[in-house]
């Protein structure tokens, strides 16, 4: 069995991998959903858009479910505190996600413009709302979240839903939405032709630009305008997790301290920028598959940057900083982390293998002819 400090670090990385996997895989579906009402102007075009992700969205959504499950298993206190603290935000994500399974499956089963248009906007909500809210939630992590623990570690959130919607967090919501929509637009270019392709290309340029801008502004803001958190007591990675057993203070510039301490982490924002720019360039030239790989790297860079800035914090508490949740003290037992590591190591390659096969089987452009031939079977 691996030692506890290594497992804690590995699980921080693995949760990162799952979140990045979610953003790359379910993210491009959500981007497609967000763009659906805009790049598809008539029913056939919209069916083209929907069917680019039709066979895959369901499998991709499991990245989200597994990510949630992994946080539950590896960081139970984070799962408990974040989901209950962000109660209304989480419900908004959940209710937005309701529109996806039914939207995809039910939309084309009835030939009525109002019915279909309603579900198209439902798919828009299911695509646009979750990335926006996740971005806003991430933004609030940098600001600190008002929660505290009782002696028995029962958590209480003392803020309101509206307090989550502050300017910096909303900017992070823009970063996240732009990132997902950009990625989705590139995927759509890869799988379509004609008018839908042309409109997706425009959306790609638009959201690529917005992403560059918002990511840069958020970085500057974080550097100049937001106090970070830092642990002031001795860090003991091998000890049993107890989030009340430390002292934490707010400190200007603390969110950038890791880049000085571990210069290698500078690679993450560099990958983000390079990924965005290369993806835009390649997509503009029509090299869409390579562009998709590049935008996936951009996602890795952006989420990695956020994670590396926060490290070792996961969820700082603004009202009782010592209760902040960190990679050292919010984790499961050594045995559980170890079992979960093995489960992930065994199953993740298998998942990637059959997912790749599914994409290979369904590869190629979705065209108007395809929709006509599969009138009753296609979404």
């Amino acid at each position: 069995m691996l030692d506890y400090p290594s497992l804690k670090i590995i699980w921080w990385l693995l949760v990162g991998v799952l979140l990045i996997g979610f953003a790359i895989m379910d993210g491009h579906d959500m981007g497609v959903g967000t763009l659906l009402p805009f790049v598809g102007r008539d029913d056939v075009e919209r069916r083209i858009v929907i069917n680019t992700v039709g066979p895959h969205w369901d499998g991709n959504q499991v990245w989200f479910i597994t990510g949630g499950g992994a946080i539950f298993a590896a960081w139970p206190l984070v799962y408990a505190t974040a989901f209950s603290g962000f109660y209304w935000a989480m419900l908004a994500v959940l209710w937005a996600l309701f529109f996806r399974p039914v939207g995809f499956d039910y939309r084309s089963k009835i030939d009525n413009p109002t019915w279909r248009n309603t579900w198209d906007w439902g798919l828009f909500i299911g695509g646009a709302v979750p990335p926006l809210i996740f971005g806003v939630a991430f933004g609030n992590l940098f600001l600190g979240v008002p929660f505290q623990f009782a002696d028995n570690l029962m958590s209480t959130y003392t803020g309101t839903f509206w307090a989550l919607l502050n300017p910096f967090a909303l900017l992070c919501g823009v970063v996240s939405t732009a990132m997902i929509t950009f990625h989705g637009a590139i995927y759509l270019m890869h799988r379509t032709d004609g008018a839908v392709y042309a409109r997706s290309r425009t959306a790609m340029m638009l959201f690529g630009g917005l992403l560059l801008l918002s990511f840069s502004v958020a970085g500057l803001w974080l550097w100049q305008g937001i106090d970070g958190y830092t642990i002031t007591s001795a860090v003991t990675p091998e000890s049993l997790p107890n989030p009340l057993d430390k002292t934490v203070v707010r400190q200007a510039g603390a969110w950038l301290a890791n880049y000085e301490r571990y210069p290698a982490t500078m690679a993450l924002p560099a990958i983000a920028y390079a990924g965005i720019l290369i993806a835009m360039l390649l997509a503009a030239q029509g090299t869409t598959l390579a562009a998709f790989v590049a935008s996936s790297f951009a996602i890795l860079g952006i989420i990695g940057t956020a994670g590396a800035s926060l490290f070792p914090f996961i969820m700082p508490s603004s009202s009782d900083p010592r209760a902040s949740l960190t990679v050292w003290d919010s984790v499961s037992s050594q045995l559980t982390l170890n079992i979960m590591l093995w489960a992930t190591v065994i199953f993740m390659p298998i998942i990637i293998a059959y997912t790749s096969w599914a994409y290979k089987v369904m590869a190629g452009k979705v065209t108007a002819a395809y929709i006509r031939e599969n009138e009753h079977a296609a979404y």
């Binding site: 499998g59 399974p101 499961s332 009753h376």
Partner: protein
């Protein structure tokens, strides 16, 4: 202290969303295998009608599956949003099977369901059959891991409490995995799903036969459903008896309550076929008893006793008093972990900690317990008898009713003249809702019967909730009810529409009632 209203609303929201979710799950579980059977026949015989059967029943399966996915995400969110203390307290054990479910099962099911619907023209026959099989395997494995998690709530093996981390921690993963409660629940639950799938196909096929349309298609579907359904209902009943046995070992309280057994009877105990339980006086006002049966089901012996409610209450009283000491020691240890005397005291009473926590419903400081409060806590340890007693009996009665139907359907299928038996076809049609009712009743018995605990003997329900405002709960509950009502209307509308259209909705030109807008 947490308000009772908050706890009740949290429970209500979980019950509503879980029972709603389970309207869709059993049909998904059952239909996957029925699709595998139909498609296997297609691959073996090459007859197009079997492919059409796979596609048409697959279409209905898809309509149902969409809502299963929609409502399933709610369940995963809800442990965190509404049961935060539960998630912290047992996440170390409970979270693992949920995460593994995602990795091992749900990815498999969800990836291959896409290829099932869209891969017909791009895969060879054998490849597509493999896809369908993997989808079914994924679905069933998914149920396995969820029931391992649920089984642990009923019978929390392989874990220990740690006062440093203030939670339960896993000590033996294999014990959690091979928990007898989980295994018994798994086979019982998936078999119930198979019955649901079979009833669905049987009823709708009977509808076509009664109308005299799509006769060949309906006859072939009916036969498959009859055979699969008969095997499944036998398995539900036999394995249900098996879960009765494990309940007897791990959860005597639930057994005593659902059997309205107030006294410990000399072995082997009798089975109350019908009774009118009187909670106040702890006796049955009226009962028809079949001698010996309960003792045999519950203990697999003629000489082992099954404890009655009164005996269990007396034991629980002792455990609450001992648990009170554990709570006091634990609270002292949280303030000063080095206190050796308190540590010894805690270790001595640790096994009863959960029972001590029952007092937290009434007291912040458990040392202030009075005889009245103790009496209330003791009474809390027994779930209400009448709802369990009747739900269980109704579920069993429905089970035997379905055994009769599938038995008859199978016999006349073998004779080949079922299509000329309107009474049989009509019974099949009218019994369509029965498996759903049985499933819901079964879950009610399992979960209501676990009260007052979320984790039996470990964590009381009233401590498990998130510290939310009551208004938040009213708001979210209203939201769920609103969304779920609309979704149910939409789903039922589509399901009825396509069931009525029949295989003509495939637009192949081979069936009656071809889809109008083709």
């Amino acid at each position: 202290m947490l308000s009772e209203q908050l706890v009740d609303l949290s429970r209500l929201q979980f019950a509503v969303t879980a029972m709603y979710h389970f309207l869709f799950v059993p049909l998904t579980i059952g239909m996957t295998w029925i699709l595998v059977i139909m498609e296997s026949v297609y691959v073996m015989t090459g007859k197009t009608i079997y492919k059409d059967m796979t596609c048409f029943w697959g279409k209905l399966f898809g309509i149902n599956f969409a809502l299963g996915v929609t409502t399933g995400i709610t369940m995963e969110f809800q442990f965190g949003t509404n049961w935060a203390y539960y998630s912290h307290y047992v996440g170390d054990i409970f979270g693992a099977p949920l995460a593994i479910e995602g990795l091992m099962a749900f990815f498999l099911e969800s990836t291959f369901i896409g290829l099932f619907f869209f891969g017909w023209d791009r895969l060879s026959r054998r490849q597509h059959l493999l896809v369908t099989i993997l989808m079914a395997v994924g679905t069933n494995l998914s149920a396995l891991w969820i029931l391992i998690a649920n089984g642990w709530m009923q019978n929390p093996v392989g874990a220990e409490f740690s006062y440093v981390t203030m939670r339960m921690e896993m000590v033996d993963f294999w014990a959690v995995l091979f928990n007898p409660d989980a295994q018994a629940k798994f086979v019982h639950t998936v078999s119930a799903g198979y019955v649901t799938g079979a009833m669905f196909v049987l009823s709708i096929s009977a509808f076509y036969l009664l109308r005299g349309r799509d006769v060949e298609f309906a006859k072939k579907s009916f036969r498959i459903a009859a055979a699969f359904g008969f095997a499944s209902i036998c398995s539900v009943i036999v394995l249900g008896d098996e879960s009765g046995y494990t309940v007897g070992e791990a959860q005597q309280t639930k057994l005593a309550a659902m059997e309205a057994m107030w006294e410990t009877e000399p072995a082997p105990a009798g089975f109350n076929l019908i009774a009118i339980p009187n909670e106040k006086e702890m006796k049955n006002d009226f009962a028809i008893e079949i001698p010996w049966v309960m003792g045999i089901i519950g203990t697999r012996s003629l000489d082992k006793q099954i404890p009655g409610i009164k005996e269990i209450r007396e034991k629980n009283r002792e455990r609450i008093l001992s648990g009170m000491e554990a709570v006091v020691a634990l609270e002292a240890l949280r303030k000063n972990p080095a206190d050796a005397a308190m540590k010894a005291e805690f270790e001595e009473h640790k096994a009863d900690l959960g029972f001590g926590l029952l007092l937290k419903k009434y007291l912040v400081d458990v040392r202030q317990v009075t005889p009245e409060i103790l009496e209330k806590a003791v009474a809390d340890t027994i779930p209400r008898v009448a709802p369990l007693f009747w739900s269980f009996r109704l579920m069993v009665a429905f089970g035997f009713l379905m055994l009769g139907l599938f038995g008859a359907a199978l016999v006349y299928s073998l004779k080949g003249n079922f299509a000329d038996k309107p009474w049989l076809l009509r019974s099949a049609l009218w019994m369509l809702p029965v498996p759903w009712l049985s499933c819901e009743l079964g879950w009610f018995v399992a979960e209501y019967g676990r009260q007052p605990w979320t984790i039996y003997g470990v964590l009381p329900t009233h401590m498990s909730v998130s510290t939310l405002s009551v208004n938040s709960l009213y708001g979210s509950l209203a939201g769920f009810i609103g969304f779920y009502t609309i979704l149910l209307i939409v789903e039922m509308y589509l399901m009825v529409k396509f069931a009525k259209l029949g295989p003509g909705s495939l637009g192949t030109g081979r069936y009656d009632n071809e889809y109008a807008h083709a």
